[in-house]
């Protein structure tokens, strides 16, 4: 009996192959986009975790200066003498060819066992080789690949290192980083002999820190990944609309079969169980296809994501994906859960269907009016909640919750708005065909509203995110012009060279402005401090959000500092607040400047103050002012005079182009997800029209019999799709604006720490409208073509007794 029941149920799919394909495709696509995002996030997180775990930093306590700056090795020796089991580490960045690498120098002899992920005593490395110059660079396979042809110490490969990081001996690293005798921090072994002298006595200037619970990288990039996740979820939700409509159609069409099965004695419980099993099998299959597809999408997107993570956060993520069980598990789970959720109402209806219920055509006018109103009330409630969350809540999660509520609320309101618009159209039209067109479109609403809601979500997301990206772009480009006024940017390779280059340039240019900086920890986060010279370049160009009147004079006199917007927002800094730069030294905040695209906090102060406070600050970079037409000549001469590589002397255009490229790649991912979401929404409409086309014949046949040609009817079907898309776009426009506002004024501020002005781009909106109309019309085209192929005999059957 079970097999028989199953055979009857499954035979439906054999006869409706297209429907089956839609169901699989919808589910697979939805799962694919979701899984792609998960795979990318998983890869990135694993990479951060690897970075954090190198030399046990995620497990061991550490000793370091409160401001994170380097300190002399003598402190380490004192501690060892006092009986402490500590091991020195130096960390810093250095360029090799075009690659900027993070160098981690360790002492293999004292490294605690928890920190020894790489066995430097192993045969292929050898302790002796490791510690004697030129030493050995231990890197990941990917970094080794990137370093091909670049002059470095011999490379050895280890999986334990994230891309872009080098593990080497501390002595070698000190030499490379120009910091002889300096260390960044000390690792404290977990087991210490009991008799050591108290730390405060031996090294009063060092503090003991517990291993961080979350690495700086994963905190910085958290918002980026949350953004991706939100998009993946949106795509999944839109995909579920397809699944819902395909399942709806299948269950509707199988009603007679189900009734027959019950009539011949198959118990309802067994029947429902069979259908659940069927759904489980289907959704598992689609989920598997979807996750596999997702990996494909992810591998296409990953290079862009990796580039933007590197550009935005300096976070290194490998360019290749590894297969993660969690992605498969989560992808399958969400596919199955989504399918069951979409099918729940149908199963419920079947469970409560009387055995002899007539297969009546769907009643629509009265019942649906009431349902529409109920749904609209729900929508209004959600919108109200979205508003409340924005104004009362705080934090990124509240921001996204509010976004979600707004989108869902707007989607729920869509059908009643469309219904009202169509009623208006009917009332305003005078020709009989036009009146029928509007009335008939309204009748299709219940069947189409889910797909149109999906379209609304996709359009609103496109419009909103598009507006955000373009606003960002416009602001960013304008800001870059101000931020990079100097003609040349020079990076020297050592302190000695730096001095010589400075002297060389001083006599050949209008001004040589140092770009010197030190890394420190302020308010518990990594912050960069820049020293700037007192020069018109800054006074004339630097974009201040707020500042005291004589801000540049104060900076020049060393009586104040500037902070970037993200630092000021995160710490809620006000002008005049004291910024604690070092133990006992703090300066008042004299201004806040905008610093788009930078995830980290930044502080600017007079260059003299920087050198005084942070003697080990990096003093390698300069900005050069010179008449623009003389810049190329000077750059060439400078390269020649000092043998500087091409990349160490760059002009303004190159720096701008680089910044813009990072920017474009960051949003390439968003754009790709946007287009995919819109495509999925188009499919949802197609699936729904397919669903309706079966019932459609009995609605169209009377109009045909009264004297409308099939061609005209088909044309009207396509127009109907287009009209609905236009109306949906009308409804999506305010939602898109709301979304853009929320992204710019709430989400960005929470996630990145900067607030951007909103710009509107009518041309983009127009393009989106055309895209929506085209996709809806395209979705309507196939069913319309089928309609024109109908023979009269098919149509007249509607009126005959057989039905």
């Amino acid at each position: 009996m079970l097999t028989q029941g199953f055979v009857v149920l499954l035979s439906h799919w054999r006869r409706h192959k297209l429907q089956f394909a839609m169901l699989l495709l919808g589910l697979a696509l939805a799962t694919a986009l979701w899984s792609a995002v998960q795979a990318i996030n998983g890869e990135a997180r694993a990479s951060y975790a690897r970075a954090a775990a190198v030399v046990g930093q995620d497990r061991l306590e550490q000793l370091a200066r409160p401001d994170g700056t380097r300190f002399p090795q003598s402190g380490y020796i004192a501690l060892r003498k006092a009986g402490w089991l500590v091991s020195p580490v130096i960390e810093g960045e250095k360029r090799f060819g075009a690659e900027r690498l993070r160098i981690l120098g360790v002492d293999p002899l004292t490294l605690p066992s928890e920190a020894a992920q790489v066995n430097v005593g192993a045969a292929d490395i050898g302790l002796q080789r490791f510690i004697t110059p030129p030493g050995v660079f231990i890197v990941s396979a990917e970094t080794a690949e990137r370093l091909k042809g670049v002059e470095t110490p011999p490379l050895r490969i280890s999986d334990a290192l994230p891309p872009g990081m080098v593990l080497t001996d501390i002595g070698i690293a000190q030499g490379l980083l120009d910091a002889p005798g300096q260390v960044s921090r000390l690792l404290v072994a977990a087991k210490q002999p009991g008799h050591a002298r108290p730390l405060a006595e031996v090294t009063p200037d060092l503090v003991r820190r517990a291993p961080p619970e979350e690495s700086d990288l994963s905190r910085l990039t958290g918002s980026f990944h949350l953004n991706l996740t939100a998009f993946g979820f949106l795509a999944f939700a839109v995909g579920l609309f397809i699944v819902h409509s395909a399942i709806g159609l299948a269950f509707e069409q199988r009603r007679p079969a189900i009734r027959t099965l019950r009539a011949v004695g198959l118990p309802l419980g067994v029947l429902i169980m069979l259908m659940v099993v069927e759904l489980l099998v289907l959704s598992t299959a689609a989920g598997l296809i979807g996750v596999a597809l997702g990996y494909g999408v992810a591998s296409l997107l990953l290079p862009d994501v990796a580039a933007s993570l590197r550009g935005l956060y300096g976070a290194e993520v490998p360019g290749t994906l590894s297969v993660r069980p969690s992605v498969w598990g989560l992808g399958l789970a969400i596919a199955v859960a989504g399918t069951l959720a979409s099918a729940a109402s149908r199963l419920w209806r079947i469970a409560s269907m009387p055995l002899l219920a007539p297969a009546r055509p769907r009643a629509w006018s009265l019942a649906s009016e009431r349902a529409l109103r109920l749904q609209a009330a729900g929508g209004l409630l959600l919108l109200a909640m979205a508003g409340l969350t924005v104004f009362l809540g705080s934090g990124l999660v509240a921001g996204f919750a509010s976004l979600g509520a707004m989108l869902l609320g707007a989607a729920l309101l869509l059908p009643i708005m469309l219904s009202a618009l169509l009623k208006l159209g009917e009332r305003l039209s005078t020709r009989v065909v036009a009146q029928w067109f509007w009335a008939d479109t309204r009748q299709q609403l219940p069947g189409l509203s889910l797909a149109l809601m999906a379209l609304l979500l996709a359009l609103a997301a496109n419009a909103g995110v598009g507006t955000m990206v373009q606003s960002f772009r416009q602001t960013f480009v304008g800001w870059l012009d101000q931020r990079l006024p100097s003609e040349l940017y020079v990076t020297t390779r050592s302190l000695d060279e730096s001095r010589k280059v400075h002297d060389w340039l001083s006599s050949r240019s209008d001004a040589v402005l140092p770009i010197w900086n030190a890394d420190l920890r302020l308010f518990g986060q990594p912050v960069q401090v820049f020293g700037v010279a007192d020069h018109a370049t800054y006074r004339d160009h630097w974009t201040m959000l707020e500042a005291v009147p004589d801000v540049w004079d104060r900076i020049a006199r060393g009586e104040g500092v500037l902070a970037n917007e993200q630092l000021a927002r995160r710490q809620k800094l006000k002008l005049g607040d004291a910024i604690p730069l070092q133990a006992g030294v703090s300066l008042p905040l004299a201004g806040v400047f905008s610093d788009y695209g930078n995830p980290r906090g930044q502080v600017m102060m007079g260059v003299d103050g920087l050198v005084r406070l942070f003697p080990d600050a990096s003093r390698l970079r300069y900005a050069v002012r010179i008449a623009p037409d003389k810049a190329p000549q000077l750059a060439a001469e400078l390269r020649k005079a000092f043998g500087l590589p091409q990349g160490n002397v760059v002009d303004q255009e190159t720096v701008k182009a680089f910044s813009l490229r990072v920017f474009e790649r960051t949003f390439a991912v968003t754009a790709a997800l946007n287009v995919l979401t819109l495509g999925v929404a188009g499919l949802a409409i197609f699936a729904s029209l397919l669903t309706l086309s079966g019932m459609r014949l009995s609605q169209l046949a009377p109009a045909w019999a009264m004297g409308l040609t099939l061609r005209r009817l088909a044309l009207l079907e396509v127009l109907r799709g287009a009209a609905l898309a236009v109306f949906t776009m009308l409804a999506a426009a305010p939602v898109g604006l709301g979304l853009a506002w929320m992204l710019l004024a709430v989400i960005n501020v929470e996630a990145f720490g900067w607030r951007l002005p909103m710009h509107l781009f009518p041309f983009d909106w127009l393009r989106l409208l055309l895209l929506a109309v085209a996709s809806a019309a395209l979705a309507a085209l196939l069913p319309a073509l089928w309609l024109t192929r109908r023979s009269p005999a098919d149509l007249v059957k509607v009126f005959a007794n057989e039905r």
């Binding site: 055509p361 009265l366 065909v433 009146q435 109009a703 019999a705 409308l708 007249v796 009126f799 039905r803």
Partner: protein
């Protein structure tokens, strides 16, 4: 002659080969006349009616309406013919579900540019539909739906009414009442009627009666 069928044949392709439904049927109907078409189920009555109404085309033979052959017309001209010249009443699914009764009544007449508000108002009165104008088809009983279909068929004052078992889904009393109304209104407009029916009792109330069997009329 208003309607003139000469040697009309029609077949349908089916799974088991070609099904020959009509084998050379000829029939003539003058203006204002009424004709009942009877025959067993599956004998091809509906098929014949659809051909006469320009809903489908015969395999061979001529169908002349007011002397003009409609069998060879293209889709567009056939549609124009249906808009203006015939009123159709079927057994079911006559009405456009998205339009209310008022719009359904006027639909065909307005399509054919023959709408006459006063006449439609009179039809509405006579058919007892005045209280139902704002309802939608799904909110009507079977008899009410058929009355609307009849009103719609007559609203454009076509010369020919084709009815396929218009009362087949109704109980006898309601069916009789609906038919009475139809005949009375036809007499007013002077339209001719071709009606398919199973019932000899109903057939006997029309002017002539033809029987379809084995693809031929007798």
């Amino acid at each position: 002659m208003l309607l003139d069928l000469q040697d009309v044949s029609k077949s349908y392709p089916t799974g088991e080969g070609v099904l020959q439904v009509l084998r050379g049927v000829s029939l003539a109907l003058g203006a204002g006349e009424s004709l009942a078409l009877t025959g067993e189920s599956g004998s091809g009555k509906s098929t014949l009616l659809h051909l006469a109404g320009g809903l489908d085309r015969p395999d061979s033979g001529a169908i002349r309406f007011e002397g003009k052959d409609i069998a060879g017309l293209g889709d567009r001209d056939l549609a124009a013919f249906r808009r203006v010249s015939v009123g159709l009443v079927f057994q079911q699914f006559n009405l456009i579900p998205s339009l209310d009764v008022r719009a359904n009544l006027a639909f065909q007449a307005r399509l054919g540019d023959r709408y006459d508000a006063a006449w439609t108002g009179r039809l509405t009165e006579r058919l007892g539909l005045a209280g139902l104008l704002d309802r939608y088809p799904e909110q009507l009983s079977g008899g009410q739906q058929q009355r609307v279909a009849i009103g719609r068929a007559l609203a454009g004052r076509p010369r020919l009414i084709l009815a396929d078992e218009p009362t087949g889904n109704l109980d006898e009393a309601t069916g009789d009442a609906v038919l009475d109304l139809m005949l009375a209104l036809m007499a007013e407009t002077g339209a001719a009627l071709l009606m398919v029916t199973h019932s000899t009792r109903l057939a006997s109330r029309l002017g002539r009666r033809l029987h379809l069997a084995a693809g031929k009329l007798s």
